[in-house]
Symmetry: C2
Subunit: 200 residues, 2 copies
DNA sequence: GGTACTGAATACCCGTGGGTATGCAACTAT
DNA sequence: ATAGTTGCATACCCACGGGTATTCAGTACC
């Protein structure tokens, strides 16, 4: 039986770890289970990663900051502001609701980042970049439409980012309480507010 | 040496557990440490609580849903809308920033609620009540001022609640990135928007 | 096709901490 | 007083899982 290339083994282990960590949380994720999920044994894990923590850390690097970027990519560049908001709200809400795994892992990462210095050092700049990215998006859209947003774009980015994460967390905790419709309406309302400026 | 009343022992253990769980997270909190922090030994824990999980669960019941209530209580009932917003934004932002322990524990609870059914069953209704409470606050303020909010109060409650939690989480992950001033400006902006309706 | 090397599998070690059984001192009742 | 009860302390057990030493199969290179 021909051996898989090392990179492929690594990839599979990371994918498995991502799922298992999301599902059970860091503490309850056993390296044995992660390995078996990927189709290997614990030996493969220690051959590719130095420790459990390192495996967890490696996942961070994989989670691209492209998160927002590919939401933006899904939008029609030509559409008018109202249509953009409609699309963005729907897309982000959808993500919150059906990509539960992402949300769970995100929460797990945040929870760990608070106590583990190393994790925090990676996560904090990542989050900052995401907020800035959201801020730029607001700036671009409002500038293009020639309107003045009610708050400066940077703050708007923070508001959007935190609201999105807050909604995601709330949905994870209370599935029915915060459903797709609620999330979408909330986002639409806030996006609408942020882009309903006085005409310049 | 006179013995402390049972209730006092329980109280001290809960207080200690709250601190330790917040500080180290559920998994890394040792019952031995919690007990010693309270000035007792593990025996006291098992005399008052059935298990580690039960101790953790007991903390939930103690965390009153009064959270928002006492923010509201701190506001001048007579003040006008603008002043109310100013006060509320400041108070909530302060809480987010300097009551780090509360935030940490809240995140820990949320993280656990996702996977532990029992915890989830307690937390979900609690959160629902908090959102509803925020919604009522918006309704009262706007009605009293005779203005129509841009979104219905219930949704406004959800937005405020999620934004607040999102800001708290963000601050925990990136202390300097989201500081008191940022949180306050974000809250003031959103509160301002929610209460700047058309005059009826 | 032999030799050296790489990397995953296997088996084992051992610290750790939740849980429990027993001891023993402080309150209660009669 | 004193027997019974309550409730925390003490000592112990043991499952569990991260980490490691060793083995052994597949691969590369000459």
């Amino acid at each position: 039986m021909p051996r898989l290339p090392r990179d492929e083994v690594r990839r599979r282990l990371l994918a498995a770890a991502e799922r298992v960590f999301a599902e059970r949380g860091y503490a309850d994720s056993k390296l044995e289970d992660i390995a078996r999920t990927a189709g290997f044994t614990k030996g493969a894990v220690y051959s590719n990663f130095g420790s459990k923590q390192e495996l967890f850390g490696a996942i961070l690097s994989e989670r691209s900051e492209a998160e927002l970027a590919d939401v933006m990519a899904g939008l029609d560049a030509g559409a008018d502001v109202a249509a953009l908001i409609e699309q963005a709200a729907r897309t982000v809400a959808q993500r919150i609701i059906d990509d539960t795994e992402r949300g769970r892992l995100g929460l797990e990462i945040a929870a760990r980042a608070i106590r583990d210095e190393e994790t925090g050092a990676v996560v904090a700049p990542m989050r900052r970049a995401q907020r800035a990215s959201a801020g730029r998006a607001v700036r671009e859209v409002t500038e293009r439409a020639g309107i003045t947003p009610p708050v400066d774009p940077e703050l708007a980015g923070t508001i959007l980012h935190c609201l999105t994460n807050g909604l995601a967390m709330e949905h994870l905790v209370d599935r029915e309480g915060v459903d797709a419709d609620t999330a979408e309406r909330a986002l639409r309302a806030v996006l609408g507010w942020l882009t309903e400026g006085v005409r310049k």
